[in-house]
Symmetry: C2
Subunit: 110 residues, 2 copies
């Protein structure tokens, strides 16, 4: 009990859900928005920008990285994170397609 039964669903359903989960936290939305605005960012910047502890920010960055939405390059003691364009656009397309199925089927003409 308590564990999602992924085997019951299609690969697409699981993928949409998993990516939605990756952005299903305001801190991760804030991180992504900051990444987009500043074109990059480091863990330390985010700790100041957002009010969460360093360990917590690091954990959220890890989740975004594991989802493939961001990537980090080491710069001395720092790590410079940025959006992964391929995955970002993949997510965008996946969501657009998902929303489109409704527009196609149940649009204003229906």
């Amino acid at each position: 009990m308590g564990v999602t039964q992924t085997h019951l669903f299609t690969e697409e359903q699981n993928e949409i859900a998993q990516l939605a989960k990756a952005i299903a936290h305001p801190a991760r939305i804030a991180i992504l928005q900051h990444l987009i605005k500043t074109k990059s960012c480091i863990n330390g910047d985010l700790v100041l920008e957002i009010g969460l502890a360093q360990a917590t920010i690091s954990q959220h960055l890890r989740e975004l990285k594991e989802a493939g939405l961001i990537q980090g390059t080491i710069e001395g003691t720092r790590v410079n994170y940025c959006i992964n364009p391929e995955k970002w656009n993949g997510l965008k397309s996946l969501f657009e397609e998902f929303f489109q199925t409704y527009a196609d089927c149940c649009g204003p003409a229906c």
Copy 2:
């Protein structure tokens, strides 16, 4: 500890995260897709369609209803669920806007 610190984030960030969470489960994606495909559905249909227990489906329907994405009308002993067009389009717009901020800032020309 263990509770999301919503007060640290903007209303928009919290709203995007909350709606993402509503669709962050493959069963709820499957429910929404079935709702779109059949233009409506009842709890019992979904129990057969998806392999989860009736109580579990009912719980997922409740979460989607609480997020405002679906609405149910009572039909005898059954409840007929359907997509809430306003909220659905609101979610669509919110996500489109979110994804667009990246395209604007970091598109192919950047």
